[in-house]
Amino acid sequence: MVIQIVVTIGVVLFILPNIYSSYKKKNLTTFGALLWLFFWLVGLVIIWFPELIGLIGEFMGVERSIDALVYIAIVYLLYASLRQKISINELSKEITLLSRKLALKDIKNDKRK
């Protein structure tokens, strides 16, 4: 029960605001934000109702609990990769805007004269 409460608080206090701010900063599209929201909400449901995993596991043929760790690791790697992708996208956008600013410098200066 304690773990479930801690994870839920963590998701509500850190993850969801993170998704919202990424969306507000236009780093995520509406579709992307909804996808991540769905992903974490599903995670919360599974944490509160772990028997669902058993059902899913049964459905998928996964019976060993160690497999769950592997799945968690995969989910973490996906999340880390998403964060990196967002960060690279931001940097790339900034480099383009900087290049553009430098390229347009002369025209802007001529206009001011």
């Binding site: 995520l28 992708k85 553009r100 430098l102």
Partner: protein
Amino acid sequence: MRNYIVLPAYCEEKVIKKVIESIKKEGYNNIIVVDDGSSDNTYKEAKLTGVIVLKHPINRGKGAATQTGIDAAKLLNADIIVTMDSDGQHNPKDIKKLIQPILDGKADVVIGSRMLNTKGMPKSRIVMNKIANIVTYIFFGILVSDSQSGFRAYNKKAYTSVYTYMDRYEFESEMLGQIKNAKLKIKEVPIKVIYTDYSKNKYKHMNTFPAQGLTNGFKMIARLIESSLFK
């Protein structure tokens, strides 16, 4: 009427002068070349012709270079902006065809479509263009015959309503999405593409500027899909 021709250029030292002169010959002297961080003498060669030449310090892609050119024309208060390729694929005689519907008030944006007359076009290119049209429709909700054509004309209403963020070739699709959202009038006119040995072969030696071939087409589609998740 101030019409500006925007030419995004990357490593086009062999043809850029010829392309600029052929555009000038058609009576269009307001030309903006955006050298997209070329490693060759594209900038110097373009400068020799006396047109406006801007330079990206590093290569950012055709989309980024085109948007820089559009921004420059915007600063110079252009009435109509025409974007075209700088490798000589587009025939400057077609510029008139692109501008005319705007002058007649029939369109805000005119696309020079290669797909309305595919004679002489490589088959792989036709297939990729068709796939790109479908992908553009799925992600941006607009169906045109040549979503990847870089030969386009925009009036003031159009170029002030759009601003692309995609750096590479997929910016053409992003632009179409914005055209649709801004409810701009769009028209397509057939254009003739000149596939020279130069334009067919130049990408074979470049890894940083993907454009042709199925692999690069798929890369573009992958980036379009990715862009539906990230802004």
